[in-house]
C-alpha cells in the first residue's frame, strides 16, 4: 500500500512536468473507482462517464495545486464531488441538491449480478440507497465502497468529521431497517 502510494506520487511528479503518459497511467489506476463513485451518486452511466473525464481533465490542469501527492485520492474525489454537485445544480437550479434523488439506475438489476450476489439483494440495496438523502448516500459510498477514513471523507465533502459520522450512522440505521426483510429471507 505504501509502495503504491509512492508510485502514485512519482507519477504525479512526472505528470506535473508535462508527462502525459505518466498521467494516463495514474488515470488507469483510479478511473474505475472514480467512475463507480460518480455512478452511485448521479445514477446515470453516461453522466458518470462524462463527469469522470471532466474530473481527470480538471485534476491534470490543477495538479500543481496538490500540496501533498500522498493526499491525491481525497483531492481527486473532492474534484469529483464538486463536479457531481455542479451537475445537480445545473439540473435543479433552484438549489434543491440536498433533497435531490438520483434518477432510477437503468439496468441496476444486472449490476454485478452473479451467483454469489443474487439479483434480488442487488435490487434491494439499490432501492435502499435511493431512499437516503444525497449527503447520506455519498457518505455511505465513500466509507463502505471507497474505504476512505472519516477525515478524508470530511475533506472530500467539506464537512466536519462529526457531521460525516452522523450522516453515515443515520444512513446505516435506515439501511439496516430497509434491508432487514431481505436478510431475514436469507438472501445474502
Amino acid at each position: 500500500m505504501i509502495f503504491r502510494a509512492v508510485e502514485d506520487a512519482d507519477l504525479i511528479r512526472k505528470a506535473r512536468r508535462g508527462d502525459v503518459e505518466a498521467y494516463n497511467l495514474l488515470i488507469s489506476r483510479w478511473e474505475r473507482r472514480v467512475y463507480n463513485y460518480l455512478l452511485r451518486i448521479v445514477a446515470n452511466r453516461e453522466d458518470a462517464l462524462d463527469l469522470s473525464q471532466d474530473v481527470f481533465l480538471k485534476a491534470y490542469q490543477n495538479l500543481r495545486k496538490l500540496d501533498d501527492p500522498a493526499r491525491f485520492a481525497p483531492w481527486l474525489y473532492r474534484i469529483a464531488h464538486n463536479e457531481a454537485y455542479s451537475l445537480f445544480r445545473k439540473r435543479r437550479p433552484e438549489g434543491e441538491t440536498e433533497e435531490l434523488q438520483p434518477e432510477t439506475m437503468e439496468g441496476a438489476a444486472t449490476v454485478g449480478g452473479n451467483a454469489v450476489f443474487p439479483v434480488e439483494l442487488t435490487l434491494a440495496v439499490s432501492g435502499a440507497l435511493r431512499k437516503l438523502t444525497a449527503d447520506q448516500r455519498e457518505t455511505v459510498i465513500l466509507k463502505i465502497y471507497q474505504g476512505f477514513k472519516f477525515e478524508e471523507i470530511a475533506e472530500i465533502v467539506a464537512a466536519p468529521v462529526s457531521t460525516v459520522k452522523s450522516r453515515l450512522y443515520t444512513a446505516l440505521d435506515l439501511l439496516k431497517t430497509e434491508l432487514a426483510p431481505i436478510k431475514a429471507r436469507g438472501v445474502s
Partner: protein, 205 residues
C-alpha cells in the same frame, strides 16, 4: 441503546483510540447485546457490498497535446519547487534581495538625523571631497616643510652674519688699539723731544 463504554459504530469502523478500542473489545466479549449490534452492522455492510463495482464503459486517456501541457514557465516553476537545492538557492537569493531592499528603504528612527541617501552623485561628491582634503593636506605639509627649510636657512645666514660682524668689530678694535699705541708712542716722543729742548735753553742763559 448500546451499553458499550464507547460508540460501537466507532469501534466497528476502527475510529477509536487504542485504549478505547481495548475497553470496548473487553466489553463486547461479555455483552451479548453489543455483539448482536456489531453483527447487524456487519450484515448491513455485507449486504451493501452486494452491489458490485462496474467496469468503466470507456477508458479515459489524454494525448500529448500542448494545449493540455503546462507552459515552459510553469514547468520551470514546478521544477524549482520540486528541487530542494534550487529552492534553497532561490530562498537565499530572495533573502539577499530582501536585505538590500530593507537596508535601502529602512525608516528613519524618531529624533535621529535623516540618513543621507546613497546616490551615485553623492558618492562622487564624497570621493571628490576626500581627494580635495588629501590634496590640501599634502600641499599644507609641503608648504610647511618649505617654510621650515627657509627659516633654517635664514637663521644660518643671520648667525653667519653675526659671526662675521663680530670678527670685523674685533679686527677694527685691534686696529684702533694699534693706532692708539702708535699715536701714544708718537706723543711720548714729542714730549721727550720738547723736554730735551727746554733743558738746553736754560743752560745758555
Amino acid at each position: 441503546m448500546s451499553c458499550s463504554p464507547f460508540d460501537l459504530r466507532d469501534y466497528y469502523f476502527k475510529d477509536l483510540a487504542e485504549n478505547e478500542r481495548r475497553l470496548t473489545e473487553v466489553h463486547v466479549k461479555t455483552c451479548a447485546h453489543c455483539r448482536e449490534e456489531l453483527d447487524r452492522l456487519r450484515g448491513t455492510e455485507a449486504a451493501l457490498l452486494a452491489l458490485r463495482e462496474e467496469e468503466i464503459p470507456q477508458r479515459i486517456g489524454f494525448v500529448s497535446d500542448p494545449v493540455f501541457q503546462p507552459s515552459a514557465f510553469r514547468r520551470g516553476w514546478d521544477a524549482l519547487w520540486g528541487s530542494a537545492a534550487r529552492l534553497g538557492f532561490a530562498s537565499a537569493a530572495m533573502l539577499s534581495v530582501a536585505l538590500v531592499v530593507f537596508s535601502l528603504t529602512r525608516p528613519v528612527p524618531q529624533g535621529a538625523a535623516p540618513a543621507p541617501a546613497i546616490t551615485r552623485a553623492a558618492m562622487q561628491a564624497e570621493m571628490q571631497a576626500d581627494f580635495s582634503n588629501r590634496m590640501n593636506d599634502a600641499v599644507a605639509k609641503a608648504v610647511a616643510a618649505s617654510e621650515a627649510r627657509q627659516a633654517r636657512q635664514t637663521q644660518d645666514l643671520l648667525a653667519a652674519s653675526d659671526r662675521r660682524h663680530a670678527l670685523e668689530t674685533q679686527a677694527m678694535m685691534v686696529r684702533v688699539q694699534e693706532y692708539l699705541e702708535v699715536e701714544k708712542k708718537h706723543l711720548n716722543t714729542l714730549i721727550l723731544a720738547s723736554n730735551n729742548a727746554g733743558s738746553a735753553g736754560g743752560d745758555v742763559r
